[in-house]
Amino acid sequence: MSRLSDHNVVVADEIISRYPKQKSALIPLVHLSQEQNGYVTDDAMRHIAELIDVTPAEVYGTATFYEMFRFEPLGTYLINVCGTMSCALLGAHDLMQHAEQKLGIKAGSTTGDGLFTLQHAECQAACTEAPTLQVNYRHRYRVTAESFDVLIDDLRAGRLDGEIPPHGTLGRNRQQIPADRRVGAVHPDDVTGAPGWVQVTVS
């Protein structure tokens, strides 16, 4: 049973209400379901389809376009080693080889204890700090064989639990729009004219 939990349905409804058209909430809701289950399940996609009144095929079609969405279970920690130019120039290849040795798996697979999934990744917008990797999308800079080993040991020992939540959680906090200050989203068809504050000034 991996539909959205009752609590998350409440969260989902609030997210949907932020957008002029509810389909805009599709990606945020798939993130929400991945945060709940660690990956995106068929039931969750069906549930999301109900919530935003589209077909499951539409949810599936959009979700599979995006790299961050995973459709089978994976390790608690997803380790993405960047291999694009700046990192490639500064030893990404050797880093990946070391990572494979340290974890005893090939890139693209998961350790037996279900803790780590290792994979190749593309540019992580940290090119000056090459070579880089991300653990559940948290950056690690100028990574060396030594610092990689320390990282893995820290993760195993749970020393980074505070900083790095399990796979699926994006930010550890979520924007909260206070009811008393929120303007509210309006369907474009229901917008008749310029925003009130414009009318007074713009001709």
Binding site: D42, M45, R46, V54, T55, P56, A57, E58, V59, Y60, G61, T64, F65, Y66
Partner: protein, 820 residues
């Protein structure tokens, strides 16, 4: 090969729903010179184009074929395949643009023949073929494939691609009718756009990304759409194939004729394709006025019924040992004596002629003439399930007028189920054109989702609900601003027709210049009613006739392709009528329960085996053609009538009778044109001269508006709504291998909350107790059914719900009893 190339070009035209190789294409009037005409310079010569149209369309009309795959004239352009690149003169020199998304502009300079254009087009074709399996020899599309053809006409001829090709599991069924081969797919977005934009069934979608992009359904949710066959037709490669046609033939073995689908009365234009005298495929043809090239799956695939081994192949007469095949001479003589005896025993009043809506105009007219000769006054092309012929006398709207009306009022059955392509046109009107749909319905329908307002009524109360709506300011304002078309039909077979007529009356009274589009279902029902198979008065209609038969007052019941035991909503009346009729003469293509009871069965030629004309709901007359030889020794209905017309002694057609010397179908068509005022001049030539056929004139008939009040329902009962699904036990579906199993099956649907109240679970069998009888059916929880009503699909086999229908009653209320 080269001539093959050209007919492949034509086929790709069919794919796009433009006119096929039929005369009309040429006969189309030239584009009028209007204010939004612009002049474009195409490869050095000036051409006239229409503002808003795309370069590719303008060029193609001018004979400049621009290769393309994703572009389809009936769908929004996406510029995905990049094949249609041309150069357009821009401020900074020539620019490469896709002609499918570049609107024409006055003074625009377009070149389709420069080196860069050629390089781009060849390069893209090479890239399209890079991962294509090139399994043309075993591909259904081979020989009519836009990819294969354009690779030949615009491609490099050879590929430098030596890499490993993309691999996918070979064809996978994405529905009961359609297979998908992702290796052949070129991702043109045609099928997926169709499912989204045209059908509104977004069940197939692009998935994954980049080089892994593929068309897919959601896991375990097949592409269940009444329109799925269209995706096969518009697929520019062999990626989508239709189960009924797969591996049946090679395109170059097929020959085709343009015809009209008579499965329902929308009258979609088709080409009928056959090989070795067997029907193999129907393809939609684009008619601006009617179907825009689309067909529903029922109409597209029910050619299987024509080929069915269950067909009647010869006439039958009743003997001590049951019905036996016989010669035409003895069968006709048998029929003659049935008529003679009935006349002798009970006079013309004792003869009833029912049906005739499934054939051609010629069939209907000939049998009407025969009925006249006999003097039979009981006659009806409908079976107590339609509307009084008077609706055809109202100011009639065309489909185009309905689809471009500012307000479309629905007082009709679920059009998605009964007139599917009309549903597509109206959905498009609401989605694209911004028409407002005002729906009155006892349950949610396919169009409810797109309606501006959809108002529920309890069966029998529609007049009041309509009048309340009319009193509402917003509705009144909407109805008084712009054109209004009412689509009127029978939403509920378990309710007196007067309830609907009364509601139509209220609309007519409130909205003076509205037009009406009748939502009558049977293929040629409008033609049959217009050409003499309408009851002279309502005490002479099908219901009256069958009641008379039940009372033993009918000596001869003539059934023209109808089977009251399955088609009449009221099962009990049907049974008593067939039992009570002294003699039965049946004209049919298939054996049916009713033919089993007949004394003489005249075996008729089927659709595709006879030529003639047909009339759709608008009154549009278009051709149906003989493509294959009639099965066995079967004959067209009209021919049978004409022959009997000469055998009636002093009642025979006289020398001056319009059919006296009718030898071919178009003698009959000519007779219609000469003698029926509303069909004046509607000859076969006239009908085939224009791609969109010819509109027959109005027929003069009054719609008697009866006051109607439904009795109130007691709180324990559910009020019955019986409606049709696209797939039911109708013979054309039942006898089509691929369609038969798509019928949903009999069940009783109520609102989940009601189920709870009664305390039965979804799927439980219950007993329904009505004033007329009882029925045992499985229960279904269905949120689209309003509380207090019970909806059941008609003719799903077993004649259960039909036992509860009293065709004479105002409405039917039923009690739901738990079993055990």
């Amino acid at each position: 090969m080269s001539d093959e190339t050209t007919d492949v070009n034509e086929t790709s035209d069919v794919d796009e729903g433009t006119d096929v190789d039929v005369a009309p294409a040429a006969a189309e009037p030239p584009p009028p010179v209007d204010p939004n005409a612009v002049t474009v310079n195409l490869n050095g010569r000036d051409i006239v184009a229409t503002k808003g149209e795309m370069v590719i369309a303008a060029a193609q009309r001018e004979g400049e074929y621009i290769p393309h795959f994703c572009y389809h004239p009936r769908m929004d352009p996406v510029g995905m395949c990049r094949q249609c690149m041309v150069e357009v003169e821009g401020p900074r020199g020539p620019m490469m643009v896709v002609s499918c998304m570049t609107p024409v502009g006055n003074g625009q300079v377009v070149r389709t023949d420069t080196d860069d254009v050629k390089r781009a087009q060849e390069g893209i074709l090479e890239l399209l073929l890079a991962n294509h399996p090139l399994d043309c020899p075993v591909c259904d599309k081979g020989g009519e494939c836009p990819l294969q053809d354009q690779a030949f006409s615009h491609g490099p001829g050879e590929s430098r691609y030596l890499e490993e090709k993309r691999h996918f599991e070979k064809p996978i069924p994405i529905s009961d009718l359609v297979y998908l081969d992702r290796e052949r797919c070129i991702l043109c977005d045609r099928c997926t756009r169709f499912a989204d934009e045209i059908a509104g069934d977004k069940l197939i979608h692009f998935t994954q990304r980049g080089n892994n992009t593929q068309v897919m359904t959601f896991p375990d949710e097949p592409f269940v759409s009444y329109f799925s066959g269209n995706t096969v037709q518009i697929c520019p490669v062999g990626a989508l194939t239709a189960r009924p046609y797969r591996f049946k033939a090679r395109p170059w073995d097929l020959d085709q004729l343009e015809s009209t689908c008579t499965t329902c009365s929308v009258g979609c234009r088709t080409v009928i394709q056959s090989s070795h005298d067997e029907l193999l495929r129907y393809q939609g043809v684009d008619s601006e006025e009617v179907n825009h090239g689309w067909l529903c799956d029922r109409g597209r695939f029910n050619f299987e019924a024509v080929n069915s081994e269950h067909r009647l192949t010869a006439p039958l007469v009743k003997t001590e040992s049951g019905l036996c095949e016989t010669s035409w001479s003895s069968a006709l003589d048998g029929a003659r004596s049935l008529i003679a005896d009935a006349l002798a025993e009970g006079g013309p009043e004792s003869i009833a002629v029912l049906g005739g809506a499934r054939g051609t105009n010629e069939d209907a007219y000939a049998w009407a003439q025969l009925a006249d000769a006999i003097g039979a006054s009981y006659r009806d092309a409908q079976l107590g399930d339609g509307l009084p012929v008077g609706v055809l006398g109202l100011d009639r709207a065309t489909i185009e007028e309905a689809a471009s009306a500012d307000t479309i009022v629905l007082l009709a059955p679920d059009l998605k189920e009964e007139l599917p392509v009309l549903y597509l046109r109206l959905r498009q009107a609401a989605e694209k054109r911004g028409s407002r749909i005002l729906e009155f319905s006892p349950i949610d329908t396919g169009l409810t989702r797109y309606a501006w307002k959809s108002l529920r009524y309890e069966p029998g109360t529609q007049r009041r609900v309509v009048e309340n709506a009319l009193a509402d300011g917003e509705v009144a304002a909407q109805l008084s601003s712009g054109s209004v078309v009412v689509v009127a039909g029978r939403a509920n077979l378990a309710e007196s027709v007067d309830a609907t007529v009364a509601a139509i009356g209220s609309l007519l009274a409130a909205v003076p210049d509205l037009k009406v589009l009748p939502a009558l279902r049977r293929g040629n029902v409008v033609g049959a009613l217009a050409l003499g198979l309408a009851p002279s008065s309502d005490d002479r209609d099908a219901v009256a006739a069958l009641k008379a038969a039940a009372d033993g007052r009918i000596g001869l019941l003539v059934l023209l392709g109808v089977d009251p035991l399955n088609d009449l909503p009221d099962a009990d009346l049907a049974r008593r009528a067939i039992a009570g009729a002294r003699r039965i003469l049946s004209v049919d293509t298939f054996p049916s329960e009713s033919t089993q009871r007949a004394d003489v069965v005249l075996a008729a030629a089927a659709y595709g085996e006879k030529s003639g004309t047909t009339t759709n709901i608008e009154g549009r007359v278009s051709p149906v053609v003989e493509k294959v030889t009639a099965r066995g020794i079967t004959r067209p209905d009209w021919m049978i009538a004409v022959e009997l017309g000469a055998m009636l002694g002093d009642r025979s057609f006289g020398a001056d009778h319009p059919l006296a010397s009718a030898a071919t179908f178009d003698d009959v068509t000519a007779a219609i044109a000469a003698t029926v005022p509303s069909y004046a001049g509607v000859t076969f030539e006239a009908v085939t001269a224009r791609a969109d056929g010819v509109l027959a004139g109005p027929i003069d008939a009054e719609l008697p508006i009866a006051a109607f009040e439904a009795p109130t329902r007691n709180g324990y009962d559910h009020r019955l709504v019986v409606g049709r699904k696209l797939y039911d036990r109708a013979v054309g579906t039942e006898m089509s291998r691929s369609l038969a199993h798509l019928a949903p099956g009999a069940a009783a649907h109520v609102n989940p909350l009601d189920l709870e109240r009664i305390g039965v679970a979804d799927g439980d069998e219950v007993e329904l107790v009505g004033a007329r009888g009882t029925a045992v059916l499985p229960m279904r929880a269905n949120p689209s059914v309003a509380r207090g009503t019970l909806w059941a699909p008609f003719n799903q086999g077993g004649r259960a719900i039909e036992e509860l229908i009293d065709i004479g009653a105002a409405i039917a209320d039923v009690r739901i009893e738990r079993i055990g």
